[in-house]
Amino acid sequence: MILAFVETAHGTLKKTALEVVQFASGLGEVTALALGSIPDTELAKLGQAGATKVLHIADEALNGMYSRAYTKAICAAAGQVHADVIVMSHSSTGKSVAPRVSVRMQCPLFAGVGALPENGSMRKTVFSGKAFADLAYQGGKAVISINPNSITPVLSDKAATVEPLACSFDDRDFDYTIKQTIDESGGHIPLPEAEIVVSGGRGMKGPENWGPIEELAQLLGAATACSRPVADVGWRPHHEHVGQTGITIKPNLYIAIGISGAIQHLAGVNQSKVIVVINKDPEAPFFKAADYGIVGDAFDVLPKLIEAAKKLKQSA
């Protein structure tokens, strides 16, 4: 049995939940585990990606991420269904919980994997996206965390059955307190989960010029990002910084505007399926990594893209 630990937020499944179940269903029969307050009707949707059963610990104390409590819950669920393999997202939660589960269950951890096992190994990106490593896996006990946006769920109309799971916690399982949770997304999609990302660099000349980037992003349903120099000088918030020392992302489409494409920046974005580069310098190294390019001034090009995106949206 494969146990898929899915994350929820505000009573709904996170985007990664279906990715995790989809990945798990490529390994065997899937039981999912969800924690905290979420309606059964929402959890039943996990059947669409291949879960037959969902275990639900509806304790509202689990609405916040407490790595020790989560570890206890996951180990309890794994014991209940005799799971050999536990799959979760390589999200902030997965990074805090998967290593604990791996230590507690004494089984190897495959962290940040991007694809199902193939020919005796699982592929993950290393060197911040500059290379891949194939990690030996011949089956057997494992904890696997998968990179967000690596797996495309193929949905059916099946529903999973939802069963409550009892698990008792004590104070030690909640070994810190979450004092405050501040939403900084401004209602936008979190960057690591975004399928389309529009990103600006020093070529934008100043924070006051971000309007068109935000407008284009909104029209495309995209998240916004930036290069390191832009975050360093405070034109944009640090959580938008993508690159080797920022966030590594893997969207379907990455549009880089006024970013030259230093090796450290490329490392964070070069797994994007399609890369568009807009830069007035034809020698910008980013063009070598691009699928589509426009050699031109961002301030001339952006209004044309916005106009075309509006037309596309109207025709859809």
Partner: protein, 246 residues
């Protein structure tokens, strides 16, 4: 307060990655090695700042062979009081965690700090493994860290959300951008680093749980298709009907 900072040796961020021995080994030829930026810029510098305001010591620990001592000396030059190198050619986070935990059990630390991940293997799992092995709280992805008495307050920047978390020492914390500003060692620090204690300890036996069969590089793109800037709107059409991504 006693602070332990875990540091890893990684290739410089500008390194062009290549592999040798039939793609089973990272090519170190001509590579400049540095302290993993998250470990140095944020975890170590914040530990030094806490020591400067609250008193105590900062110990750095690294798992590696003798050639890692160059980066360990840099940590000492930045201001760490002493260093430990566990003589282990580690290839697995679990091995590193078991070894650092074995050392930490023999000593008393209020906070164990790691970077949020290394820029070579990108696991980001060491801190949580240590916390589990040492039965400690773990606060991950902290972009801010304050200490008052035995209470730590951290800000965690996670998927579109900032969380303010309060916990008690001893604990394990992973650091990310925002926690501190990178420092450059000064001449006094560099001179002092040569005589600061650097203890070498034998590794404890820990199974290598994950093996790399082979490394590979991403396939080259098929070349860039250029769109005329005068007719930039055409790009949207291509992305919609050719690339099918919007």
């Amino acid at each position: 307060m006693q602070l332990l900072v875990c540091i890893s040796k990684v290739p410089d961020t500008t390194t062009k990655i290549a592999f040798v021995e039939n793609n089973t080994k990272f090519s170190e030829s001509g590579v400049q090695f540095i302290i993993n930026p998250y470990d140095e810029w944020y975890a170590l510098v914040r530990a030094l700042e806490l020591k400067e305001t609250l008193g105590g010591t900062v110990t750095v620990i690294n798992c590696g062979k003798a050639d890692n001592e160059q980066i360990i000396r840099k940590a000492l030059a930045l201001g760490a009081d002493d260093a430990v190198r566990i003589d282990l050619d580690a290839s697995d986070a679990m091995q590193v965690a078991v070894n650092i935990a074995a050392f930490a059990r023999e000593h008393t630390f209020d906070i164990i700090l790691t970077g949020k991940e290394t820029i070579d293997y990108n696991g980001g799992v060491l801190g949580a493994m240590l916390a589990e092995l040492l039965d400690l709280p773990y606060i991950s992805l902290a972009s801010k860290l304050e200490v008052q008495g035995d209470v730590v307050t951290a800000e965690r920047e996670i998927e579109g959300v900032k969380e303010v978390v309060e916990g008690k020492m001893p604990c394990v914390i992973s650091a990310q951008k925002g926690m501190a500003e990178a420092r450059i060692p000064n001449m006094r620090g560099i001179l002092a680093s040569k005589t600061k204690p650097l203890q070498v300890l034998p590794a404890v036996t820990a199974e290598n749980t994950v093996h790399v069969n082979a490394f590979s590089l991403p396939a080259d793109k098929g070349g860039c298709k250029y769109v005329d800037p005068e007719n930039a709107g055409e790009l949207i059409t291509l992305l919609h009907s050719e690339a099918k991504v919007i």
